[in-house]
Point group: C2
Chain length 327, copies 2
């Protein structure tokens, strides 16, 4: 195929996303050697990079529009976890071929999620190779107000911004191991393919939460990251972990709890909250669930209604039999 | 393999690079959901993302230390092209396996180039899949002073920051098609594997050059980008294009010019300079070569000593039989 023609095609496909959200803070977007960002004095830029690989993070056979939404949402969730307001993203796309049908779908999905998140496409790189999608996201926040993993104190409440486990419960559907039937399966699939990063909740939590992150590796594993960074133990009460009706229907009660604790790919916020901040968060109108609290010690403990330790041995979703290492 | 152990290994390997250049402007580096950057009022952040894929941009068999240097240098060259001062970078590494020998070499090379460029590793993502390396670089510069591709005016001189063609001449050595012998081949290989981004020259060109970019796709192709963005014709005098002795020795006179014009992977700056700015650039002490000038018209023309048009038909180095599409 004629080289330049294909790249003109790619440029055209992505023009929509680039124009989707002309964010303040973007002084120059796509088209030169670098994009230029400029923030008002006193603001910081939050940056996170996230790669997804065909056959590892998503199936080789997929809907490119849904894939684009999932990749961008997963990256944007890291902005939510810091309490940052969305600004823009770069896209580094490695493709086995310039397939116009795939590109059209991917660009369409990217546009949908970019608009939903308020993120402008500010730069990119397209190259040939096994399918690999890297998104680097940019957000802004007042200096010193970022939500960090360190900061939880004994006595703080442990909260999550939504139910977990549904994305993991969708895996048999995503992999085609069983067909999707009815509204419950549709909900699971939507949670897997089009997670909604909790950007508004994250910004609300600035000045309220003592620590926060987004749940991507599984609730227990990610709470472990807060516990380690903060130097506390997090105690989760199993009976307080929300299990959605769709999750229960797909997985049954016992397996539902297991997926909610260790499933991964949830992209809801987990955070600790000094009890004094609870009324303000309730007043904000955001949905959230108190699932436990922080105490002196280390690690994460799961307890039943009688206070007995029922912590499972294994952690969350991992690659290399390990886990993605993200910063 | 035990999951967390491997990632602890990766973390340890990259700790050196993360600490290499604790840049001002990095409020928080690796370790939370996002890195945080903060610039003084009146400064802009320059951002560019760059992916290299095994078997496409570099051979499957390679020295990981050299590879790391090449990948980071290629990305940093985009900062040089904008006149930005180096700040930091994120690394998204997709690896088929966590091979300690490869990782040790890669981390060592990354550290070398990060120090040479003054770039701090501020964040990353490591995942499993076919080898794919994405670097997103960050630089800073006073608002409104970025070197853009648009801005060349008829009468401006066309200059390059160093000789081109050596990286392309190294390809037969890189691919093992012939063995390396002597100092000339060593120089070609060094140009391919460890290009030196012209960050100091780029910053010097702020306020002097009317347009700039870094030569990565080949001199003619990249000059075409300046010509298009600026709405001028760039006229290159073949006799003024510098051909290094190493390039001449490896390729012969005729092929040397061809590689210098269309080879790619050079990572030297090409820029246009109003004649009035020439004394200041000479006084700065930076090496550069005047190779032509801008005139009214469009496109790029190569002329011989008699002013005859000898422009070759084809462009520079391209993927997909096309080219990387970078922003």
């Amino acid at each position: 195929m004629a080289g330049l023609g294909e790249f003109a095609l790619i440029r055209q496909f992505f023009a929509a996303a680039a124009c989707a959200a002309p964010a303040s803070g973007v002084a120059r977007g796509i088209g030169d050697d670098c994009a230029l960002l400029q923030l008002p004095p006193g603001e910081q830029l939050a940056v996170s990079t996230d790669t997804q690989v065909a056959g590892v993070h998503f199936p080789e056979r997929h809907d490119p529009s849904l894939l684009a939404q999932r990749v961008l949402a997963a990256a944007a969730s890291d902005l939510a976890a810091m309490g940052a307001a969305p600004l823009g993203f770069t896209l580094a796309l490695t493709l086995p071929a310039a397939d116009p049908v795939w590109l059209e779908g991917f660009a369409r999905g990217l546009d949908v999620m970019a608009r939903a998140c308020g993120l402008a496409l500010i730069g990119g790189d397209t190259t040939r190779g096994p399918l690999n999608i890297n998104v680097t996201v940019f957000g802004r926040l007042p200096a010193g107000q970022a939500l960090l993993r360190a900061g939880a104190r004994p006595g703080d409440l442990l909260c999550i911004g939504g139910a977990t486990g549904e994305a993991a419960a969708a895996l048999p559907l995503v992999l085609g191991e069983r067909g999707a039937h009815g509204a419950a399966d549709a909900q699971l699939l939507a949670r897997y393919w089009t997670p909604q990063p909790q950007l508004a909740l994250g910004q609300t939590l600035r000045g309220l939460a003592s620590a926060a992150l987004d749940v991507s590796d599984g609730l227990l594993a990610d709470c472990g990251h807060i516990a380690e960074a903060s130097g506390v133990r997090l105690l989760i009460e199993a009976a307080l972990v929300p299990l959605s009706p769709a999750l229960r229907a797909a997985a049954g009660e016992r397996r539902a709890l297991q997926l909610a604790l260790s499933g991964g790919d949830d992209y809801v916020l987990a955070f600790t909250l000094p009890p004094a901040a609870l009324p303000a968060l309730v007043a904000s109108g955001h949905d959230f669930h108190v699932i436990g609290h922080a105490e002196a010690g280390s690690g994460v403990r799961l307890v039943d209604g009688a206070g007995r330790d029922i912590t499972p041995a294994a952690g969350g979703y991992q690659h290399f039999g390990g886990g993605d290492e993200q910063a």
